[in-house]
Symmetry: C2
Subunit: 306 residues, 2 copies
DNA sequence: ACGACCCCATAGGAAACGTCTATAGCTAGC
DNA sequence: GCTAGCTATAGACGTTTCCTATGGGGTCGT
């Protein structure tokens, strides 16, 4: 069955006239007649009664009509959906993100994205990088923003480098000193967060590689709480710069540079399934936004507007 | 766009494998590949990402999927609807009927019809024959049961002859006499019904043609009331036999034969639009039921079961 | 009553398309 | 490196589809 036949059926049903319908469809009248005959033959029933005045629907034709309309509408809508997706003018984008990305980077990014593509519906699934990778592999998310990961089935697009910075409360002795050494840090009370997170491991191995055994005083399961603890002078912490940008600007936390230790950072990438072909539609739109953005800008966008 | 392409798309999307899908659809793998290519070319977008493992949907493919399913379902349901209509196993039948037919003949007929075709939905529109004819011409009803009418756009199928019989209350002088003449009738008080109905005109001209000027005592707008009036001895009436079958059987009314007057009757026919082609589906089913029935049986069926 | 017109159906030939078999190209896994 | 499993491609064959031109039937206007 050709869709052109169904379309012809509808057009003729509407106009009650093969010649006019043919003209409207830019084919000749015999062509349209043939299509109708073919459709009737396939369905095993005349859909039209031929009269002097033209074509009238038979009972069978009337019974078939709503289904024909439904089918054509479905195809038309499907085409439109593809066009929307191609121009990314509408559709759905499901993102995965590591917690720090989700909380501190995505909001500003999505604000810009929503402004550029108001008809795209966005969903975010947050989880540790490993879990988000699994979501990606199960196709529960289309694109994920996580720390650098390796897997044969994914490809990565570098986004930005997220520095871990040492923050102390205002008025802390470190805040006044121009130079702080790693040995100084080791004597401070350190606040860690989320033992299941990769940050925990990263910071731990950082200290260990420098021969420092941190005196752990507190471990929290989220960054926000860790910041609050530092603000309340319960210790100092190594936190993602994106997570403390607001507090640094508001001067409720102070960044301290450790002079005799290498910069600690983690690469954040966007990953997607390698077998999905070229990014298309909403995913491509989002990647374009990322590409147009200065990597530093992504990482430094304030987490709260203003 | 071929429906076979859409179907192929769905099958491949389900199985993720062209070869298997082709096998399931009883075509060769290159054929199905060609269909997919044609569909992708027409939609201007790859629907599948080709991988070592087989075919995976792209975002575009995923976006198109629900519409493809909807379209296929619509066509499948449409086919089923036609099959239902052809076998009259389901569907809708809209009948028009004159009041006397609707009240006294249709119930028993529809009872049998509903038993034979339980999944056919039946609707009845009642009105005077002329009005029902208009409904038919406007296609508000598919088939109408009315008195014989002439119109270039309709064709008629004879159903039965409806006799008008003279009824009197039990114990009336006529009931005991073996013979009643038209002159006797003229001296009785007559009850007519519904001046707008064709029965009124029919009975009036009947008497006039016999040179009898009836002494009209009462005119009612429906047959049921007329029967009640006769039962209450307010007069006698000429009523359709189908309308008084129950009362005659229950002996609450008595039929009297007028010996010196011709039998008065009216032909009841089924009419349908001439331009509708051969009757199909539910209409054909109903006509078959009528055809199988003895005409006399139709007209004499008791109006109330029992 | 007759001719002009409008409708759909049909005929025939050219072009396009779909389908097949056979084969190539590619990758993964042994 | 060979095999197995996947999709893509090539070429040939048969069918279908489309066009133009024409037929046949009925209506309407003159």
């Amino acid at each position: 069955m050709l869709l052109a036949q169904v379309e012809g059926f509808l057009e003729v049903a509407r106009r009650g006239n093969v010649s006019r319908a043919a003209e409207a469809m830019f084919v000749t009248q015999p062509t349209l007649t043939a299509r109708l005959h073919a459709l009737e033959r396939e369905l095993g029933e005349p859909l039209f009664a031929r009269t002097r005045r033209g074509m009238r629907l038979t009972d069978a034709g009337r019974a078939f009509l709503p289904y024909a309309e439904r089918a054509m509408r479905a195809v038309r809508d499907g085409r439109q959906a593809l066009t929307d997706a191609r121009t990314a003018s509408a559709g759905r984008l499901v993102l995965g993100a590591a917690p720090a990305v989700s909380t501190y980077v995505l909001p500003a990014l999505l604000q810009r994205f929503a402004a550029a593509y108001p008809r795209i519906e966005v969903a975010v699934r947050t989880g540790h990088s490993e879990d988000v990778l699994q979501m990606l592999l199960r196709e529960e998310v289309q694109l994920a923003m996580v720390r650098t990961m390796r897997h044969p089935d994914i490809e990565s697009i570098p986004l930005y480098e997220e520095a871990l910075v040492l923050v102390v409360p205002p008025g802390h002795p470190f805040a006044k000193r121009s130079k702080v050494g790693i040995a100084d840090v080791a004597s401070e009370r350190l606040i860690f967060f989320d033992r299941t997170s990769s940050y925990y491991e990263l910071t731990q191995s950082f200290f260990l590689s420098l021969g420092v055994t941190p005196r752990e005083v507190m471990e929290l399961d989220n960054i926000e709480s860790a910041k609050k603890m530092v603000e309340r002078r319960l210790g100092i912490a190594l936190l993602p710069r994106t997570a403390v940008a607001g507090e640094l600007a508001a001067k409720t936390l102070t960044q301290v540079v450790v002079t005799d230790a290498p910069a600690l950072s983690q690469k954040i990438v966007a990953i997607r399934r390698r077998d999905q072909g070229r990014p298309s539609g909403t995913v491509a739109a989002f990647l374009n936004l990322l590409r147009e953005s200065d990597p530093a800008a992504i990482a430094h966008l304030p987490s709260r507007s203003g």
